[in-house]
């Protein structure tokens, strides 16, 4: 017989009350865990989308001349560019302190070329890098393999009557269309994509680049800092972040996260109050026992230990159950309600957090009842029966 036996036996005797207490804590922890897991998953989802978004930093030459639009950004007109970027600038970008965060550097040479009587924007690109960055591209045909092969945007193909196998003259060379792109509503629809070196040769613009798209590895990358570093490395260029859409979604997720924290706090406060009132009731019911314990020579600290140990045991069970149910709920709800494409991660830290929070909440809320129990006068407690 030790104090823990008293705790255990009392919990076993008061199954109904213990069940209600565990239920209250479980509901609280479930809500918190589910909210946290879902918002965390949404954040991860945004991260993945950010990675899939392709370039998130655009490097273009400084220019005061006419400009043309690309990818939702205004870039300098290739035809009238005064300053241009070169492959040397590419190397400089690769030397920035945060170079490890760069997944792809895609140089592009832009030029307006007349094809079948119409001006078409031709992009000389590293086709392999471009295909890697633009995961949303759907090719009708095959990926280009030789430098004489080209991809045609949906509107270009339609307006110029181009299809797989069509020959397109660009500068002093002819390119063969090996695939057309499915319409995606972006600038790509109006463009023709060819190999960068082949375009430089065909257009007699050896070693020049109109702009560079830089894709950072992850959503947590310090984009602003990387922009600053690239700007330092290539001072004659203008470096811009392309994060508006993702930033907007991230802001929504941030708002939701703040809401989740606020809701969690409210739920936890309610949970704490449930524990407080239940434990106060339990202490009142156990006046006789406490009086007996004190008459036998139990110290006040012994009484507190018994009450707090009971609270801790119940909280532990509530925390574990809450975590389990919360994670299952988050797994089921994340894709349906939050429409995330990323699966909920069963993070062990969340388990520790859930159990830790439940323990903290349970013990903290039981502190006052425990102090009250410890301060019960044994004589009064026994006479009150």
């Amino acid at each position: 017989m030790g104090l823990i036996d008293i705790v255990w036996n009392n919990l076993r005797r008061r199954k109904g009350k213990v069940f209600l207490l565990v239920l209250g804590l479980t509901i609280g922890v479930t809500t918190v865990v589910a909210l946290q897991a879902i918002t965390r998953t949404m954040r991860d989802d945004v991260g993945v989308k950010l990675d899939e978004f392709g370039a998130n930093i655009l490097v273009v030459p400084q220019s005061n001349s006419l400009s043309l639009s690309y990818g939702g950004m205004t870039v300098s007109s290739a035809a009238y560019d005064v300053g241009e970027l070169t492959s040397l600038d590419m190397e400089r970008i690769q030397t920035i302190p945060n170079a490890a965060n760069i997944s792809t550097i895609a140089p592009i040479l832009l030029s307006a070329v007349q094809v079948k009587g119409q001006y078409v924007l031709v992009a000389g690109v590293d086709l392999e890098a471009e295909l890697r960055m633009k995961k949303w591209w759907q090719l009708d045909g095959r990926a280009p393999q030789a430098d004489g092969e080209a991809l045609a945007g949906a509107r270009v193909a339609e307006l110029l009557g181009l299809s797989v196998g069509s020959q397109v003259p660009v500068g002093n060379r002819t390119f063969e269309i090996v695939a057309t792109l499915a319409e995606n509503g972006m600038q790509d629809d109006d463009m023709l994509f060819v190999d960068l070196n082949a375009a430089q040769n065909a257009l007699n613009r050896f070693g020049t680049i109109s702009l560079v798209e830089v894709s950072a590895l992850c959503n947590a990358c310090p984009i602003e800092e990387m922009i600053r570093q690239i700007q330092e490395a290539v001072p004659q260029a203008r470096v811009t972040g392309l994060r508006q859409a993702v930033a907007l979604r991230m802001e929504t997720v941030d708002q939701l996260t703040r809401f989740a924290w606020a809701l969690s706090a409210v739920v936890l406060v309610i949970g704490g109050l449930v524990v407080l009132t239940t434990m106060l009731g339990a202490v009142a019911e156990r006046k006789q026992e406490i009086g007996i314990f004190r008459a036998m020579g139990f110290r006040r600290t012994h009484i507190m230990r018994v009450i707090l140990a009971e609270a801790a045991l119940v909280s532990l069970v509530g925390g574990l159950l809450g975590w389990l149910i919360g994670m299952v709920a988050a797994t089921l709800l994340a894709s349906r309600v939050a429409q995330t494409s990323v699966a909920v991660q069963w993070n062990p830290w969340l388990l520790l957090g859930a159990v830790g929070t439940a323990l903290f909440l349970g013990v903290l809320s039981s502190l006052y009842p425990a102090v009250r129990a410890a301060q019960l006068d044994p004589n009064t407690a026994l006479q009150a029966l």
């Binding site: 017989m1 020579g297 110290r299």
Partner: protein
């Protein structure tokens, strides 16, 4: 062993002070079996709780084994009860969710002794009060006499020098009462100091000394033969 000097106790009932004890002087030697007698409201139970370091007197001094328990800090008072006092309550106050063995082991819950040693001590005590073999029963499965025996075993398991019993036979039939009182008598004969509150003359017969209280004051203090002659009870 116990010395009470000028002990008074006043309870505050609303705005009205009620004197439960007034100027009680009493000395009880080690090994004595003292019965505190008196009508309801005479202050018997109050006196018992004061001796047991459960109820501080309003005035006066309480000394047990040269210790003034009410001069000790609260936690040390608890230690004093643990080391010196075993209580038998009128309703026995057995813990309903603990078995007989659990109830007897209860006072040792704060004892650092190994579990096996505590168990052995509790079993020995149960054997001594004649409850061997009933260790696993719950209080609800016991008769009144058995409950009283469990309460006695629980009060004595830590071998306290002082056993305080508040109407231990108050809820028992005469035959069962006699058995319980015989047990207390045996304990007394083995050297146990016992202070028992009772209003039953038959019960008082088992004590070596009877202290009579009335309106919170000691009305009489007699050794067994005298009181038994007065009451016409065989010794």
């Amino acid at each position: 062993m116990i010395e009470l000097s000028g002990v008074s106790k006043v309870y505050q009932t609303g705005d009205v002070p009620v004197q439960a004890l007034g100027e009680v002087n009493l000395a009880i030697a080690e090994g004595e079996f003292v019965a505190l007698m008196g009508p309801s409201g005479s202050g018997k139970s109050t006196l018992l709780s004061i001796v047991g370091a459960m109820n501080p007197p309003t005035a006066g001094a309480v000394v047990v084994d040269n210790i003034r328990p009410y001069d000790l800090p609260t936690e040390r008072q608890a230690d004093f009860r643990y080391e010196y006092v075993g209580f038998i309550f009128q309703q026995y106050h057995l813990v309903p969710y603990l078995t007989v063995l659990g109830n007897v082991m209860l006072p040792m819950a704060i004892d650092p002794r190994p579990r096996s040693e505590k168990r052995r001590a509790a079993c020995e005590m149960l054997e001594r009060v004649g409850l061997g073999g009933k260790e696993k029963r719950l209080p609800s499965q016991l008769s009144g006499g058995e409950k009283a025996r469990v309460a006695i075993a629980r009060a004595l398991v830590n071998q306290p020098p002082l056993l305080l019993a508040d109407e231990p036979t108050g809820n028992l039939d005469s035959v069962t009462s006699e058995r319980v009182l015989e047990l207390l008598k045996e304990l007394d004969q083995a050297g146990q100091t016992i202070v028992m509150v009772t209003h039953n003359l038959e019960a008082a017969r088992y004590a070596g000394r009877v202290v009579r209280l009335r309106d919170g004051r000691v009305e009489g203090d007699s050794l067994e033969p005298a009181i038994c002659r007065t009451m016409g009870v065989a010794g």
